[in-house]
């Protein structure tokens, strides 16, 4: 009895182990918060780290898995942030609704933010992704600036002065839930035939085309999904900070996510998590260095890129995010050639 029990438990544990781990992690964090070992400062850094994980993972889908180059990802984030904030703060006046209705309104806001970002993603993706090459980079760069300029002009949502009084609904539970949900979704997506198509496009677009993959369709699909997740992440960001303004979603922010992505390892979901979490926490940890803080931060980044050009976790995944085909991973541009994989 015991042995069979153990044997049947094993795959179950394998399946639900990660979920169990997440729940345990959440409970431990909440207990530590109750005991005041983790104070509001640590919580807040964790919230931002969670939002950054969402942004980096979604960027990874476009840049890391589909091989396109999006450098205006903060634009989608701002659309999502404003979309969600308009729903929760202006449509349903957040202060005047009963407490029970707050969560549905919050989720509706996030959904709307995501949908707005995805629709705009499709609008700019369709013309630019039909072409082969780096056109997407230029278009997304311009897109980020256009969104920023437009948001500055729309007075009802605060214009350049920004939007204030957004309720801070996004607590640790919601951020953690969305991070887990997104990672699970992305992992299954990359596992699926869609994911294989994305990776085929990344590895060789012409060959993928020749094999009958509708490259334009899959590129737009990947781009829209990434935009949706970025929109949701933006919505969460707005409800953490409770204040948003167009200028905070500028090119610098987009560049931040590119750094998180490539430092963590593009083409690896684990890399996105590690990159985003580590690089969100690192500047805070280095605060004791005062003015030398950002110098050391930059040196660490340079060192990582020099000695691990594929990123910290590049080409690797933790077991529950792993896809069992080593060739799926991106070859490092300046790294060592792996033997036996480059056979034509």
């Amino acid at each position: 009895m015991k042995t069979t029990n153990a044997k049947t438990m094993h795959p179950l544990l394998r399946k639900f182990g990660p979920l169990l781990g997440c729940i345990v992690f959440y409970v431990v964090i909440m207990l530590l918060r109750k005991a005041d070992i983790i104070n509001g400062y640590y919580m807040q850094v964790m919230l931002f780290a969670g939002v950054n994980v969402l942004m980096t993972a979604s960027l990874n889908l476009v840049n890391g898995f589909t091989g396109q180059f999006c450098i205006g990802h903060a634009g989608f984030m701002s659309l999502g942030a404003y979309g969600a904030a308009v729903i929760t703060t202006m449509v349903f006046k957040s202060n005047s609704i009963p407490e029970a209705a707050q969560i549905p309104v919050f989720l509706l806001g996030l959904l709307c933010g995501g949908i707005v970002a995805a629709i705009v993603g499709a609008l700019i993706g369709i013309p630019s992704l039909k072409l082969k090459g780096d056109y997407l980079a230029i278009v997304t760069l311009a897109f980020g600036e256009i969104v920023r300029a437009l948001l500055r002009l729309i007075q009802p949502i605060g214009g350049a002065r920004g939007m204030i009084g957004i309720p801070n609904y996004a607590n640790f539970f919601w951020i953690m839930l969305f991070v887990v949900l997104t990672l699970w979704l992305l992992r299954n997506l990359i596992y699926s035939s869609y994911g294989r198509a994305f990776i085929a496009i990344r590895d060789n677009e012409i060959a993928a085309d020749a094999m009958g993959i509708n490259t334009t369709k899959y590129k737009i699909m990947s781009f829209c999904i990434a935009a949706f997740i970025a929109g949701v992440a933006g919505g969460l960001y707005a409800h953490v900070l409770s204040f948003i303004q167009p200028d905070s979603f500028g090119f610098v922010k987009s560049a931040d996510y590119l750094v998180y992505l490539y430092a963590g390892g593009s083409g690896s979901l684990t890399g996105s998590v590690v990159g985003a979490v580590l690089l969100t926490i690192l500047p805070e940890v280095l605060r004791f260095l005062a003015t030398w803080r950002l110098v050391l931060y930059a040196i660490i980044l340079i060192a990582v890129m020099l000695y691990r050009s594929e990123g910290l976790i590049g080409g690797k995944e933790v077991p529950f995010l792993r896809i069992k085909r080593s060739s799926l991973y991106e070859q490092p541009l300046f790294g060592r050639k792996k033997n036996g994989l480059s056979e034509e």
């Binding site: 400062y41 801070n168 409770s242 280095l286 605060r287 003015t291």
Partner: protein, 385 residues
């Protein structure tokens, strides 16, 4: 390769370990507890210059205090905890959390920009920790809650300063031309009309910065022959307006808001700029006693530079906190808040300051500056409305 990587990882671990130790609760079991004041300013990033001036301004007060503060008849060591906001809302929110939760500061001065303050203010309000923004002019900042103050005056307040100056100069009649599409312009005009004791003869308006010809309005105003012409408009418009006003025969005193404080205005206006006065927050040339003392102390500490408005406002913000600590009924955050709201006639470099307990905006003096014939600005007087 592997070796280097290993060394690198090790180095990273050491740094992390050291920093964790450094970040840990640093409760000193001393005889008297240290009073900490938080300073949140951009030390890096695009706004690093403003942050440098701000911390230098705070240095002056640090030097004055000499590391200790007397509350009642007890002496406490005082510490300024400076943290970098990078000029970003996210980082400012983190800094505020860290100052409040970990450093346990009694009050926070800074950051200087409205956008960072708007992100940080709800945190301070929820934690019931008094915070003073040095240069956050957006009216929404102090509306966040009763723990949020500001050291600078909000834009419309300049109108009150201009009105007090005109009254002081004995100008009996005034005319105004303003941009009805701009909040800055409208706010200044309203405050001027409300506070001016003389007679406003006529008000003319136009809309938008793309207007380049103001002759119709200015000719009408010239017919009134006023003592003062108020132009509470944006810097891109002022140059042409001043020039056209003189051509239209308005030879009276012209008064503007602080938007006139850019070299471009003088350049566009040409010789017409002579005698144009404007309201400003602070001038290093001020002859006021408190201002002189501050400037001298500042230059002694930082010989290569003169204090600007950032430095002066930060000094004032921290000075207000120090005064509040010394005059608080209870030595905690709530006590300091109540004392801040009760500030009445505190002597500061920009003049006497009284805190409006309702809006938590300061009521204080402004500086009147004037252009000379070469387009150089000169300090005229300090005005306390």
């Amino acid at each position: 390769m592997k070796k280097i990587l290993r060394i690198l990882c090790l180095a990273l671990c050491v740094i992390m370990a050291v920093s964790v130790c450094a970040c840990g609760p640093s409760e000193k079991k001393g005889s008297v507890e240290t009073i900490k004041i938080g300073l949140a300013f951009p030390m890096s990033g695009m706004a690093a210059m403003a942050g440098k001036y701000s911390t230098h301004g705070a240095d002056v007060l640090k030097e004055e205090l000499g590391g200790k503060i007397t509350v009642g008849d007890k002496e406490y060591p005082i510490e300024f905890v400076v943290m970098d906001t990078e000029g970003s809302e996210e980082k400012t929110a983190n800094v505020y959390q860290k100052l409040i939760e970990e450093e346990k500061v009694i009050a926070i001065a800074g950051p200087d920009s409205s956008k960072c303050m708007l992100a940080a203010a709800p945190i301070a309000q929820n934690a019931k920790c008094p915070a003073i923004t040095s240069f956050g002019t957006n009216t929404a900042v102090t509306e966040v809650g009763d723990y949020i103050f500001r050291a600078c005056f909000i834009d419309p307040f300049q109108g009150a300063v201009a009105a007090a100056y005109c009254d002081g100069q004995g100008h009996k009649t005034a005319c105004i031309m303003f941009n009805n599409a701009d909040a800055y312009s409208v706010g200044l005009k309203d405050a001027f009309v409300e506070n001016y004791n003389g007679e406003v003869l006529a008000i003319e308006e136009y809309s938008g910065s793309d207007v380049k010809d103001y002759n119709v309005q200015l000719t009408k105003l010239a017919a009134q022959n006023p003592d003062v012409l108020l132009l509470p408009n944006l810097n891109v418009e002022l140059g042409l307006q001043i020039q056209q006003a003189r051509t239209a025969g308005l030879n009276c005193q012209i008064v503007c808001g602080d938007s006139a404080d850019t070299p471009d205005v003088a350049k566009v206006a040409g010789p017409a700029i002579e005698g144009v006065a404007y309201v400003s927050a602070f001038s290093a040339e001020s002859t006021d006693e408190a201002a002189k003392k501050f400037v001298d102390a500042y230059v002694e500490l930082h010989p290569d530079e003169l204090p600007n408005s950032n430095a002066e406002l930060t000094y004032e913000a921290v000075k207000m906190i120090v005064w509040a600590i010394q005059n608080a009924k209870t030595l905690d955050r709530a006590g300091v808040r109540d004392a801040l709201a009760a500030i009445d006639g505190l002597d500061l470099p920009s003049g006497k300051m009284t805190m409006d307990p309702e809006t938590r905006n300061p009521i204080k003096g402004g500086i009147i500056m004037q252009y000379d014939a070469d387009g150089i600005t000169r300090y005229v007087s300090t005005v306390n409305p």
